[in-house]
Amino acid sequence: MSPRAAWRLESLGFTEVYDYVAGKQDWLAAGLPREGEIAGLPRAADIARSDVPTCRLDERVGKVRERVHEAGWEECVVVNDERIVLGLLRAEELGEARDDEVVEDVMRPGPSTFRPHVHVEEMARFMSRHDLDSSPVTTSDGVLVGMLLRKDAEAAAHRLHQQFGAEHEQG
Protein backbone atom coordinates (compact mmCIF):
# COMPACT_ATOMS: atom_id res chain seq x y z
CA MET A 1 0.00 0.00 0.00
CA SER A 2 2.62 2.53 1.00
CA PRO A 3 4.39 2.86 -2.38
CA ARG A 4 1.05 3.55 -4.05
CA ALA A 5 0.08 5.95 -1.29
CA ALA A 6 3.37 7.77 -1.81
CA TRP A 7 2.75 8.05 -5.54
CA ARG A 8 -0.80 9.24 -4.89
CA LEU A 9 0.43 11.94 -2.53
CA GLU A 10 2.84 13.13 -5.20
CA SER A 11 0.00 13.24 -7.71
CA LEU A 12 -1.89 15.47 -5.26
CA GLY A 13 0.93 17.97 -5.28
CA PHE A 14 3.05 16.98 -2.32
CA THR A 15 6.67 17.51 -3.29
CA GLU A 16 8.52 15.76 -0.46
CA VAL A 17 7.14 12.23 -0.10
CA TYR A 18 8.99 9.23 1.34
CA ASP A 19 8.01 5.58 1.55
CA TYR A 20 8.99 4.16 4.94
CA VAL A 21 9.65 0.65 3.71
CA ALA A 22 10.00 -0.94 7.16
CA GLY A 23 6.34 -0.15 7.84
CA LYS A 24 4.21 1.63 10.39
CA GLN A 25 4.93 -0.75 13.28
CA ASP A 26 8.65 -0.18 12.84
CA TRP A 27 8.08 3.59 12.70
CA LEU A 28 6.18 3.43 15.98
CA ALA A 29 8.74 1.06 17.50
CA ALA A 30 11.48 3.57 16.75
CA GLY A 31 9.61 6.13 18.85
CA LEU A 32 9.03 8.45 15.90
CA PRO A 33 6.20 11.04 15.96
CA ARG A 34 2.63 9.78 15.73
CA GLU A 35 -0.77 11.34 15.18
CA GLY A 36 -4.36 10.19 15.59
CA GLU A 37 -7.06 9.69 18.20
CA ILE A 38 -5.06 7.32 20.41
CA ALA A 39 -1.65 8.82 19.69
CA GLY A 40 -1.70 10.62 23.02
CA LEU A 41 -2.07 7.47 25.11
CA PRO A 42 1.09 6.71 27.10
CA ARG A 43 3.42 4.08 25.67
CA ALA A 44 6.24 2.04 27.11
CA ALA A 45 8.85 4.49 25.82
CA ASP A 46 7.13 7.39 27.56
CA ILE A 47 7.72 5.94 31.01
CA ALA A 48 10.74 3.69 30.50
CA ARG A 49 13.68 4.88 32.56
CA SER A 50 16.53 5.81 30.25
CA ASP A 51 18.94 6.21 33.17
CA VAL A 52 19.10 2.45 33.78
CA PRO A 53 22.74 1.44 34.32
CA THR A 54 24.49 -0.31 31.45
CA CYS A 55 27.69 -2.30 31.22
CA ARG A 56 29.84 -4.11 28.65
CA LEU A 57 30.34 -7.83 28.17
CA ASP A 58 33.96 -7.78 29.31
CA GLU A 59 33.55 -5.79 32.53
CA ARG A 60 34.11 -7.33 35.95
CA VAL A 61 30.98 -7.88 38.00
CA GLY A 62 32.45 -6.23 41.09
CA LYS A 63 32.89 -2.86 39.39
CA VAL A 64 29.50 -3.10 37.72
CA ARG A 65 27.77 -4.00 40.97
CA GLU A 66 29.33 -1.00 42.69
CA ARG A 67 28.26 1.35 39.90
CA VAL A 68 24.73 -0.06 39.79
CA HIS A 69 24.17 0.25 43.53
CA GLU A 70 25.63 3.77 43.62
CA ALA A 71 23.05 4.75 41.00
CA GLY A 72 20.27 3.32 43.18
CA TRP A 73 19.49 0.38 40.92
CA GLU A 74 19.50 -3.39 41.37
CA GLU A 75 19.88 -4.41 37.75
CA CYS A 76 21.97 -3.55 34.75
CA VAL A 77 21.55 -3.91 31.00
CA VAL A 78 24.47 -5.38 29.07
CA VAL A 79 24.98 -3.48 25.81
CA ASN A 80 27.57 -3.11 23.07
CA ASP A 81 29.02 0.12 21.66
CA GLU A 82 25.87 0.64 19.57
CA ARG A 83 23.75 0.29 22.72
CA ILE A 84 22.28 -2.99 21.46
CA VAL A 85 20.93 -5.11 24.31
CA LEU A 86 22.97 -8.31 24.66
CA GLY A 87 22.02 -9.41 28.14
CA LEU A 88 20.73 -8.53 31.54
CA LEU A 89 22.12 -8.63 35.05
CA ARG A 90 19.21 -8.81 37.46
CA ALA A 91 19.56 -8.60 41.23
CA GLU A 92 20.13 -12.37 41.43
CA GLU A 93 23.12 -12.34 39.10
CA LEU A 94 24.57 -9.19 40.66
CA GLY A 95 24.12 -10.62 44.12
CA GLU A 96 25.50 -14.09 43.49
CA ALA A 97 28.43 -13.51 41.10
CA ARG A 98 31.96 -13.03 42.39
CA ASP A 99 33.65 -9.65 41.96
CA ASP A 100 36.23 -11.02 39.53
CA GLU A 101 33.74 -12.77 37.25
CA VAL A 102 33.15 -11.36 33.79
CA VAL A 103 29.71 -10.00 32.93
CA GLU A 104 29.40 -12.21 29.84
CA ASP A 105 29.77 -15.36 31.96
CA VAL A 106 27.01 -14.56 34.44
CA MET A 107 24.47 -12.45 32.52
CA ARG A 108 21.11 -13.62 31.25
CA PRO A 109 21.70 -13.65 27.51
CA GLY A 110 19.07 -12.45 25.04
CA PRO A 111 16.45 -11.25 27.53
CA SER A 112 12.87 -10.61 26.48
CA THR A 113 12.38 -7.02 25.48
CA PHE A 114 9.37 -4.90 24.62
CA ARG A 115 8.84 -2.33 21.91
CA PRO A 116 8.52 1.37 22.77
CA HIS A 117 5.05 1.82 21.28
CA VAL A 118 3.25 -0.80 23.39
CA HIS A 119 0.52 0.85 25.49
CA VAL A 120 1.29 1.09 29.19
CA GLU A 121 -2.00 -0.63 30.03
CA GLU A 122 -0.94 -3.67 28.02
CA MET A 123 2.47 -3.62 29.63
CA ALA A 124 1.02 -3.34 33.13
CA ARG A 125 -1.33 -6.24 32.45
CA PHE A 126 1.42 -8.50 31.11
CA MET A 127 3.96 -7.58 33.75
CA SER A 128 1.44 -8.27 36.48
CA ARG A 129 0.30 -11.57 34.99
CA HIS A 130 3.88 -12.77 34.52
CA ASP A 131 5.11 -11.32 37.81
CA LEU A 132 7.74 -9.32 35.96
CA ASP A 133 9.14 -6.36 37.91
CA SER A 134 10.99 -4.79 35.00
CA SER A 135 11.80 -5.28 31.37
CA PRO A 136 14.09 -3.57 28.87
CA VAL A 137 12.44 -1.55 26.12
CA THR A 138 14.24 -1.60 22.78
CA THR A 139 13.66 -0.50 19.22
CA SER A 140 13.12 -3.12 16.51
CA ASP A 141 16.88 -2.98 15.92
CA GLY A 142 17.58 -3.90 19.52
CA VAL A 143 18.77 -0.47 20.68
CA LEU A 144 18.09 0.15 24.36
CA VAL A 145 15.45 2.82 25.00
CA GLY A 146 15.21 2.29 28.74
CA MET A 147 14.00 0.02 31.52
CA LEU A 148 10.28 -0.20 32.10
CA LEU A 149 9.38 -0.80 35.73
CA ARG A 150 6.15 -2.57 36.55
CA LYS A 151 5.31 -0.05 39.27
CA ASP A 152 5.61 2.77 36.71
CA ALA A 153 3.43 0.93 34.19
CA GLU A 154 0.78 0.18 36.81
CA ALA A 155 0.79 3.77 38.07
CA ALA A 156 0.47 5.13 34.53
CA ALA A 157 -2.38 2.71 33.76
CA HIS A 158 -4.11 3.74 36.97
CA ARG A 159 -3.80 7.44 36.10
CA LEU A 160 -5.22 6.70 32.67
CA HIS A 161 -8.24 4.96 34.17
CA GLN A 162 -8.84 7.87 36.54
CA GLN A 163 -8.55 10.34 33.67
CA PHE A 164 -11.02 8.43 31.48
CA GLY A 165 -13.33 7.96 34.45
CA ALA A 166 -13.38 11.70 35.11
CA GLU A 167 -13.97 12.50 31.44
CA HIS A 168 -16.78 9.94 31.28
CA GLU A 169 -18.49 11.49 34.31
CA GLN A 170 -18.24 14.97 32.76
CA GLY A 171 -19.97 13.52 29.72
Binding site: M1, S2, Q25, A29, R108, P111, S112, F114, R115, H117, V118, H119, E122, M123, F126, R129, H130, D131, L132
Partner: protein, 53 residues
Amino acid sequence: MEPVTMLICSGCEKRLDYCSCCDRADCPAGGICYSCLVVELHVSLREPHEHGG
Protein backbone atom coordinates in the same frame (compact mmCIF):
# COMPACT_ATOMS: atom_id res chain seq x y z
CA MET B 1 11.34 -37.76 41.52
CA GLU B 2 10.10 -34.20 40.90
CA PRO B 3 7.09 -33.80 38.63
CA VAL B 4 7.93 -32.46 35.19
CA THR B 5 6.34 -29.07 34.63
CA MET B 6 5.68 -27.98 31.12
CA LEU B 7 4.70 -24.60 29.76
CA ILE B 8 1.95 -24.37 27.20
CA CYS B 9 1.48 -21.17 25.22
CA SER B 10 -1.72 -19.45 26.33
CA GLY B 11 -2.33 -18.37 22.73
CA CYS B 12 -1.56 -21.32 20.46
CA GLU B 13 -1.07 -24.11 23.01
CA LYS B 14 2.41 -24.86 21.68
CA ARG B 15 4.79 -26.52 24.16
CA LEU B 16 7.42 -24.12 25.44
CA ASP B 17 10.77 -24.45 27.18
CA TYR B 18 10.37 -20.98 28.64
CA CYS B 19 7.99 -18.04 28.51
CA SER B 20 8.77 -15.32 25.97
CA CYS B 21 7.37 -12.63 28.25
CA CYS B 22 9.20 -13.31 31.51
CA ASP B 23 11.95 -15.71 30.30
CA ARG B 24 11.01 -18.21 32.99
CA ALA B 25 10.56 -21.94 32.70
CA ASP B 26 8.16 -21.68 35.66
CA CYS B 27 6.11 -18.75 34.36
CA PRO B 28 3.29 -17.94 36.79
CA ALA B 29 0.97 -17.20 33.88
CA GLY B 30 1.59 -20.56 32.23
CA GLY B 31 3.72 -19.18 29.41
CA ILE B 32 3.29 -17.53 26.05
CA CYS B 33 5.32 -17.95 22.87
CA TYR B 34 6.92 -15.01 21.08
CA SER B 35 4.51 -15.11 18.13
CA CYS B 36 1.46 -14.91 20.37
CA LEU B 37 3.09 -12.33 22.66
CA VAL B 38 3.65 -9.80 19.87
CA VAL B 39 0.10 -10.32 18.66
CA GLU B 40 -1.30 -9.87 22.17
CA LEU B 41 0.69 -6.67 22.61
CA HIS B 42 -0.50 -5.39 19.23
CA VAL B 43 3.08 -5.24 18.00
CA SER B 44 2.18 -7.59 15.18
CA LEU B 45 -0.93 -9.01 13.54
CA ARG B 46 -1.54 -12.70 13.01
CA GLU B 47 -2.80 -12.14 9.46
CA PRO B 48 -2.13 -8.53 8.54
CA HIS B 49 -3.92 -8.37 5.22
CA GLU B 50 -5.68 -10.88 3.05
CA HIS B 51 -5.29 -8.51 0.15
CA GLY B 52 -1.98 -7.47 -1.34
CA GLY B 53 -2.00 -4.00 0.17
